[in-house]
């Protein structure tokens, strides 16, 4: 590694006092930038309502067709470390805002382009990084300024935001179905005072069959599992008392090392009978509480139910669902208002949940267990997502997730801004004006930052098959004339007041995109050496 340090700096003419970069760090920087820009180019075409999809064949051979930036980046193999940072950036945006995963990467790519120009001017990377950070703070300020505060009771506004998010997805034609679902789901969970929504309380159950139009918000709970019917037990229970149990309903087996030893034929009957008796005692306890629907947690050690148990259950008219996953227990107990029961001794009535109806239906194709009319319902929501095949279904779930996130963003920060590239142009114009009031290298950097923001409207126009230069300049012109809400109307290919077109997005999506993208590229800029550790 000594050779590394000893790499002679190419002597530049000393007259330029500003910043003399050594050759090697510059190369590292450029390599990082090029790699990061390659990633941003890869997702660029999927931005916006007219964005296209990517078909990705993963290393395992499965095919994914998607439009979601985070999913694309997660699935491709980014090799360069800098490229990986952009993948992480998109993942961070996914966590923070849930939507705008494509735009954050596109923005980062464009900011890097701006930074590269500044570097070529001989400005020191740390100055660029600092100015960019300052510019981002300023940008967020401008964005907040033009945002429109909303009330969570304003259903129409929430719907508009969710629809805008869904319109850029493969499932856009179903946005009228999915957007109300997303809005409803979140609204059920929030109160006027809540500042966040735990998306774990919204469960999306996927079933192949039917079409996306059959996707619905269920009044109650939907289960991933089906009812066990091999012994002909009931598939419909009214006035259900639901027990969520974590033990098994099967005859006990002796431990591995222990064996039961029999030396008399009378004892043989006893063994068989004891097994039955053991089960029967359990069922007597269960029956005594009036329980008539059982959800059994999955166990790897023993069968959840054996055949004798199933026939008992049938005789007692108890509905059984088995293989409930460990991590579902919390959600189920919360939403059914019941407590998980770990042992038969603890099986008491107060731990049961009550519902009007537990039923396995197959209205739109696949069999689904629905629990409706839950009495002590916790604050949870179940969404039943349907799709004709797995590819569509997965994409439907991802889009629904994005839409939920958009609504969640509005809960976190109750403000909307316009879409269609309008806020970016607005901020870019104000930043450029602000840059004129600055002195020194900062002024250049602010100008570069302002220019870089224009990538969003440019890309929107490009993807829509419009002339980006004509569109973006007209947009700038309109904004300069004071039309703050002018944006690209992708449907007609013209500039119009984007708020009239109902294209809106949460403020948080844009601000978090700007903050995250800026921070990431500042980090990239400050790297000046690359050492591969073994």
């Amino acid at each position: 590694m000594t050779t590394l340090a000893a790499t002679p700096a190419p002597a530049k003419s000393g007259s330029n006092a500003a910043f003399n970069d050594k050759g090697k760090p510059m190369e590292v920087r450029l390599s990082n930038m090029v790699a990061a820009k390659a990633i941003s180019d890869a997702v660029r075409t999927s931005l916006g309502p007219r964005g296209m999809d990517k078909m990705i064949q993963t290393s395992k051979g499965e095919v994914i067709v998607t439009n979601d930036g985070a999913t694309i980046l997660r699935s491709i193999q980014a090799l360069h470390p800098a490229a990986k940072m952009l993948v992480d950036l998109s993942a961070a945006q996914d966590v923070e805002a849930g939507d705008g995963t494509t735009s954050v990467v596109v923005l980062a790519g464009s900011l890097l382009g701006g930074a590269e120009k500044m570097l070529n001017k001989g400005i020191h990377p740390t100055i660029i990084a600092e100015s960019f950070l300052k510019a981002s703070v300023k940008a967020v300020e401008y964005l907040t300024e033009i945002s429109v505060p909303i009330n969570l009771d304003d259903n129409a506004a929430l719907l508009r935001a969710a629809t805008t998010s869904l319109n850029s997805k493969i499932v856009s034609q179903y946005s009228s179905t999915l957007a109300p679902i997303a809005v409803q789901a979140v609204r059920r969970l929030v109160t006027q005072t809540s500042s966040n929504v735990d998306l774990r309380d919204i469960r999306i159950v996927k079933k192949v069959g039917g079409t996306i139009e059959d996707t619905e918000l269920v009044e109650g709970v939907v289960l991933n599992q089906n009812v066990v019917v091999s012994a002909g037990g009931p598939t419909r229970v009214e006035k259900a008392k639901i027990g969520l149990i974590q033990f098994q309903l099967s005859a006990p087996k002796p431990d591995m090392d222990n064996t039961v030893i029999i030396n008399d034929y009378r004892q043989m009957d006893k063994v068989i009978k004891e097994g039955r008796q053991y089960l029967l005692n359990m069922f007597k306890k269960i029956k005594k509480t009036g329980c008539n629907a059982l959800l059994i947690q999955k166990s790897i050690l023993r069968d959840a139910v054996d055949e004798t148990a199933l026939s008992f259950l049938k005789k007692l008219n108890i509905l059984v669902v088995k293989d409930v996953e460990r991590d579902e227990i919390e959600f189920l107990s919360k939403s059914l208002g019941c407590k998980p029961i770990a042992d038969i001794e603890a099986f008491t009535e107060d731990k049961l949940g009550y519902a009007e109806l537990v039923e396995e239906t197959s209205d739109s194709g696949p069999k689904v267990v629905k629990i409706t009319g839950v009495k002590h319902k916790g604050k949870t929501v179940s969404i039943l997502a349907m799709g004709s095949n797995n590819l569509v279904l997965e994409e439907c779930e991802r889009s629904l997730h994005d839409a939920l996130c958009v609504v969640r963003c509005l809960v976190k920060k109750r403000a909307l801004i316009a879409g269609g590239g309008s806020p970016e142009i607005h901020v870019s114009r104000l930043l450029a004006n602000y840059a004129h009031s600055l002195k020194g290298m900062e002024a250049y950097c602010f100008q570069a930052y302002a220019d870089a923001l224009e990538v969003i409207p440019t890309t929107l126009a490009e993807n829509a098959g419009l002339n980006p230069i004509a569109i973006v300049t007209e947009l700038r012109n309109r904004h300069a004339l004071g039309e703050r809400n002018a944006g690209i109307n992708v449907r007609t290919g013209l500039i119009s007041n984007i708020l009239d077109e109902d294209v809106v997005q949460p403020l948080l999506v844009s601000t978090s995109a700007i903050e995250l993208a800026t921070e990431t590229i500042c980090l990239l800029l400050k790297i000046d050496d690359y050492v591969q550790a073994r």
């Binding site: 990633i39 999809d53 043989m268």
Partner: protein
Amino acid sequence: MSGLFQRDPRAGAFLGGDRVSGQDIRDQNVIAAQSIANIVKSSLGPLGLDKMLVDNIGEVTISNDGATILSLLSVEHPAGRIFVDLAQKQDKEVGDGTTSVVIIAAELLRRANELVKAKIHPTTVITGYRLACREACRFMQEQLSIRVDVLGREALINAAKTSMSSKIIGNDDDLFAPMAVDAMVAVKSVNNRGETKYPVKAVNVLKAHGKSARESLFVKGYALNCTVASQAMKTRITNAKIACLDINLQKARMQLGVQIVVENPEELEAIRRRESEITLERVRKILAAGANVILTTKGIDDLCLKEFVEAGAMAVRRCRKEDLRRIARATGGTLVSSLANLEGEESFEPTLLGTAEEVVQERISDDELILIKGTKVVSSASIVLRGANDYMLDEMERALHDTLSVIKRTLESGSVVPGGGAVETALSIYLENFATSLGSREQLAIAEFAGALLIIPKTLAVNAAKDSTELVAKLRSCHNAAQKANAGEPKKAYLRYGLDLLNGQVRDNVTAGVLEPTMSKTRSLKSAFEAAVSLLRIDDAIQCVPGAPGVLIV
């Protein structure tokens, strides 16, 4: 070390694996889709031909069914796989029309690609296609479909005949079509929410080779591909009381972890006796309940057989669980998986038994079958297929499945449309007129959609070795006249005109009895549209290197 960065990084890809973008990937997808469609193209229609597929272990399949052919191909290209899925989906949802859906989708995609090359944005094409698809379905529902109740049973048989015309059993449609209709009508059931269902699976299709296809029989009742467990048993029982068991009637064994230790030699005999007694007690309980036909999914050993023979009962072992469940439902019995009752003892209630008029073992070719006739609760249907060899039987079964599905759809949706390219031509004319009424870019896409639909009559004519250009032109002129005509004019009847492939003419396909369920047509149009669109939206394909994820190359 400084060489590390000397390679121009701008030339290198920073993504693992291959990436194809833009027009290249669209072309690739179109080629993949076309090649899939070309494989099945020649099997469309009544004069379409079959394919012989040989897999890598030498297994031969002969088929005319699009879904079957495609499922046996090993398709590498992801776009191709989407098309294979498309056919499978159609097969699952409708059961018929698998070939045509693939052909239409490929044609839609090809024409869309031409439009994109002519500088029309893919999303514009998609919007146009969506409009066209919606309009087409609406037109089909409103103008072309005919209620089945107007046409009656004849319509069902005709729909069945149309479906099988392209298949191996097409020559004997006068035998099979009524058979299939009878079978489906027999299994009609009403579920607990009052919906009428026609489960295709409830029609039991058995295959027995030997004799000709014309000797196939329809059995009113349930046929089981099993024989009685012992030759000494009766082979005919009238007024049968049937016990459906999911219990092993063999010598009882102790469960794992229980050891029997014998200290006294006399004990040994006692234990052995007890082992068999446990099961024999069960058998006696079942017999005491009055059962004279015992069907079980598991085994019966000799000891128990003796018991059954002495009681004059018929016992059948190793039946399929699915069969028993249906028999239980049809006879009003219950499939019993354990004799244990709530007192902790074992018992068998007479209410668990199902009843049937007659259970008889009959010999059909080399195989003996058990037929359960005159089931009490639900009537059931079985079809025993006969044929020269196994390949033929397999294909007959597939063809019959398609036909049964078509009948089911016709019964459930209640309406049919004329076949033989009539619908496609009518829609094509309608959409062309519709396109000219629009003044935007979508017009072109709708016109292409209209053109793409003509691929069906064209292919039908080509497969029948007729002059496709002339026939399609004739057909189009008929439909144009029909759609221009006002309601009530005689020309309106031209709307039902389709191809007569045997004579190379156009004719009224409703009177000729070429009918297809409306639901099958709308579904296939929608699925074809969806598949074409999902491929059209793709402008980038990234193939990751299989195996090693994330190898660091700088």
